[in-house]
């Protein structure tokens, strides 16, 4: 099949066995690849009610049909699992070079199942799979792990690792790759840790079949050329995503002090310009990327060189603003700590900010921690990150994320647990941005920004009006996830205005048949609805109640800055939800209607809902 390697690799780490399976054409047609493949795999193969850390859960990793092809930024890979953080399907993507390498090794998806008795590194070298003992790496940081494996296996292996947080099943443990790229969200690193998989190393030597190689070359050259000709390519790249920091403050959306406010005094000291002036040593591109947002940095800590990729915007927002770290060196050091321990910087930042606020309010005490902690103090941050990753003392509870921690701690701390569906809210406050608010409320994995980044729509169309906001969120939830299916990064489209039409010429050259974005949007909608149904099957009563933001965003006005006094009250959230469900073809309870599921060909979902009495 053109664009696809044609096979799936299934690895049972318990039995130390593996099997190569032919890629199902119908799967490719209906779900395209990437996130479509991994979420469908979890939906089909992990039984409802399975323990995320038990032997029945699986981890899948899939590039997309354009991954590894001569197309701008075709380096994405998607991971999926039944998430420990949310209890529903969780997925997360990363750039770097891991996804293309899976394709060159001959696979469109890796499936990891079972539980190993002892720590293991999966070494995939084309058709061979080795189960390499990883006892010596267990407990080691992700940087040391990757470095050691590169030395042992060879520099041309692409390696994904987990840190101690993954080993210790921290609900927001990430997967690390290439000394600084992460699949951070929904705790997939913890599921790998439960399976005792310390690392996955892949090397491939194969070619990816395409329908018309001459056309791929010609179209590919043309796409790069078009990127080069975009005005501002040279000016955009130097700061990467960190460049947006001042803007997010100017529009009053920068998470600050656990979202108590949305403007961070002194944000200039942690933004992109400060990075460029003080710590960046090189741009670090993902596979085939013409506009590398990746910045690699070096700083001095206690006389020693510390290296880190980043910080990128989300990390700056969540570790800088939300935990109030005042200097770019602090943010970069905290970033490095999280990466090495294997903590997602978004949830990690949110959890630490939550803990700091609990401490302020006396909900967590000095006696419990054995020390004081304070906002903006890198020592406090390091202490908390360490006890969370190692699950020591209070860290054991915090390691389960803000929702569970708040429910156990009580004192109405759930009000300021900044999460939806159990996944922590990422780096944009939405109390003055209804389209962004409904985007966060309804994102399928929980409060994540990348499904729909709609804040510019709010700014353009009026930040106080609710009109048309849910509709725009649905549109973006179609376009942006479409990139997750094809295996490309969407930032060229967002950053330099690289037109969506450009990709369609490549679809035709690769697939040999005309494929439009519209075709992919249908698959994106199919996936969206399938994930919603799975959540209904998984969690009793799942629906509308799971789509509200934390009370803080509905009841506590922003304290300072440009958005001072703003909030989106519950009635407004209801209006947004009503509009959203209408646009999606869901009922008022937030459940997809039979008609909607039928139109998307999700007949299996209908049967399962009926079998459980969730659909008439």
């Amino acid at each position: 099949m053109n664009g696809y390697a044609g096979y799936i690799l299934r690895i049972d780490v318990g039995a130390k066995a593996f099997r190569k399976e032919v890629l199902d054409r119908k799967l490719a047609k209906d779900f395209i690849g990437g996130r479509g493949f991994v979420d469908k795999l979890i939906y089909d193969e992990v039984p409802v009610g399975a323990d995320p850390f038990g032997p029945l859960n699986k981890v899948a990793a899939a590039p997309g049909p354009l991954s590894g092809i001569f197309t701008p930024a075709s380096g994405k890979v998607q991971f999926g699992t039944l998430s420990p953080a949310t209890g529903i399907i969780g997925d997360s993507n990363m750039g770097g070079h891991f996804g293309p390498e899976i394709k060159y090794a001959g696979y469109d998806m890796l499936i990891i199942e079972g539980v190993s008795n002892t720590p293991v590194t999966l070494v995939i070298d084309d058709d061979k799979v080795d189960f390499k003992d990883a006892s010596d790496l267990w407990g080691k940081g992700s940087f040391e792990t990757e470095e050691t494996l590169k030395k042992q296996l060879g520099a041309d292996f692409q390696i994904a690792t987990i840190g101690p947080a993954g080993e210790n099943k921290v609900y927001f443990a990430c997967i690390n790759h290439d000394f600084g790229r992460q699949a951070g969200r929904t705790g997939i690193g913890a599921v790998l840790g439960a399976k005792k998989v310390k690392a996955i190393a892949v090397k491939g030597s194969k070619s990816i079949p395409v329908a018309d190689p001459d056309a791929v070359l010609k179209v590919g050259m043309n796409l790069y050329r078009k990127c080069f000709e975009k005005p501002g390519l040279a000016e955009w790249t130097p700061l990467g995503t960190a460049g947006v920091t001042p803007w997010v403050n100017e529009v009053g959306a920068f998470p600050t002090k656990n979202f108590q406010t949305t403007y961070f005094e002194g944000h200039e000291k942690i933004g992109g310009q400060a990075m460029k002036d003080k710590i960046i040593v090189t741009d670090k591109g993902c596979f085939a990327c013409p506009t590398p947002c990746g910045k690699y940095s070096r700083l001095k800590k206690e006389g020693k060189d510390v290296y880190v990729e980043g910080p990128e915007y989300e990390t700056i927002a969540m570790l800088g603003g939300d935990c109030m770290l005042p200097e770019i060196e602090d943010v970069a050091y905290a970033n490095r700590l999280c990466d090495d321990l294997g903590l997602d910087t978004i949830s990690g930042g949110a959890v630490i900010a939550f803990a700091l606020e609990c401490f302020d309010k006396g909900i967590i005490t000095k006696e419990q921690l054995g020390r004081d902690i304070s906002w903006g103090d890198i020592g406090s941050f390091e202490f908390l990150a360490n006890i969370i990753a190692k699950r020591q003392g209070m860290g054991d509870l915090l390691a389960m994320g803000t929702r569970i921690a708040a429910n156990r701690l009580g004192h109405d701390s759930i009000r300021f647990a900044t999460q939806v569906k159990g996944l922590e809210w990422s780096g944009y406050d939405a109390r003055w941005a209804p389209a962004m608010m409904i985007s966060y409320m309804t994102a399928d994995i929980g409060a994540h920004h990348n499904r729909s980044w709609a804040i510019t729509f709010d700014v353009a169309k009026g930040r106080d009006t609710l009109e048309g906001k849910a509709k725009r969120a649905v549109e973006l939830q179609r376009i942006r996830p479409a990139f997750d299916l094809i295996g490309c990064c969407r930032l060229q489209w967002v950053e330099i205005g690289f037109e969506l039409e450009n990709y369609e010429a490549m679809f035709e050259a690769v697939f040999g048949e005309r494929t439009t974005w519209q075709d992919i949007y249908v698959a994106a909608d199919r996936l969206w609805n399938m994930n919603r149904v799975r959540a209904m099957l998984e969690i009793p009563g799942f629906g509308r109640d799971d789509d509200y933001p934390p009370k803080r965003f509905m009841e506590e006005p922003v304290l300072s800055g440009p958005a001072k006094g703003k909030l989106i009250d519950r009635a407004s959230c209801d209006r947004l939800l009503d509009d959203y469900y209408m646009e999606r073809g869901w009922d008022k309870a937030g459940h997809p209607t039979k008609k909607t599921l039928e139109a998307l060909g999700l007949f299996g979902c209908i049967d399962e809902l009926k079998a459980r009495g969730l659909m008439a």
Binding site: G68, I69, F70, H97, P100, Y104, F143, E147, A155, D178, F179, G180, G204, S205, K206, S207, I208, P209, V210, P213, D214, V216, L217, G220, M221, Y224, R225, C227, F228, L233, V281, T282, D283, K284, G285, C286, F287, A288, C289, P290, T291, P292, G294, Y296, R298, D305, Y307
Partner: protein, 133 residues
């Protein structure tokens, strides 16, 4: 065309390798290309681009004289190649390619990598131009 590089511009994206393998082999396979950007991480955090400088080391060691200078480049006469691999071992930059069942192949300075490099890290030293400019 003479290839030249500025390592510090490289971001390790491998677009050069994709363009090379597509152009020379009509295959999507960066492993089968004649240029190698190599990252050095976690420290010092930089890239080195290994590419064919047309230095002629391969020609010096070829036992059958299959490799000779034609104009600006060293070229392989496939009829004379006995697939011994001496050129691969001798190449200072690891950019010779000898695949099973094939004759040895090398860079002919076609410039595909130059055209695709988003950073002009590999460029044409005759014109001092990269693909981006």
């Amino acid at each position: 065309m003479h290839l030249a590089t500025i390592d510090k511009l490289c971001s390790g994206c491998k677009a050069c390798q994709l363009a090379c393998s597509m152009t020379r082999r009509k295959e999507v396979n960066p492993k089968r290309s004649f240029i190698r950007p190599e990252g050095r991480f976690p420290a010092p955090g930089d890239y080195i681009i290994k590419y064919c400088t047309q230095c002629g080391e391969c020609a010096n060691v070829c036992p059958t004289g299959a490799i000779s200078k034609k104009g600006d480049i060293y070229d392989i006469d496939e009829d004379l190649c006995i697939q011994c691999g001496a050129c691969v071992a001798a190449c200072p930059f690891s950019v010779m390619l000898l695949l099973d069942g094939e004759k040895a192949k090398k860079c002919n300075a076609c410039g595909a990598c130059v055209a695709a490099c988003p950073r002009a890290a590999v460029y044409d030293s005759d014109t001092s131009k990269g693909g981006r400019y």
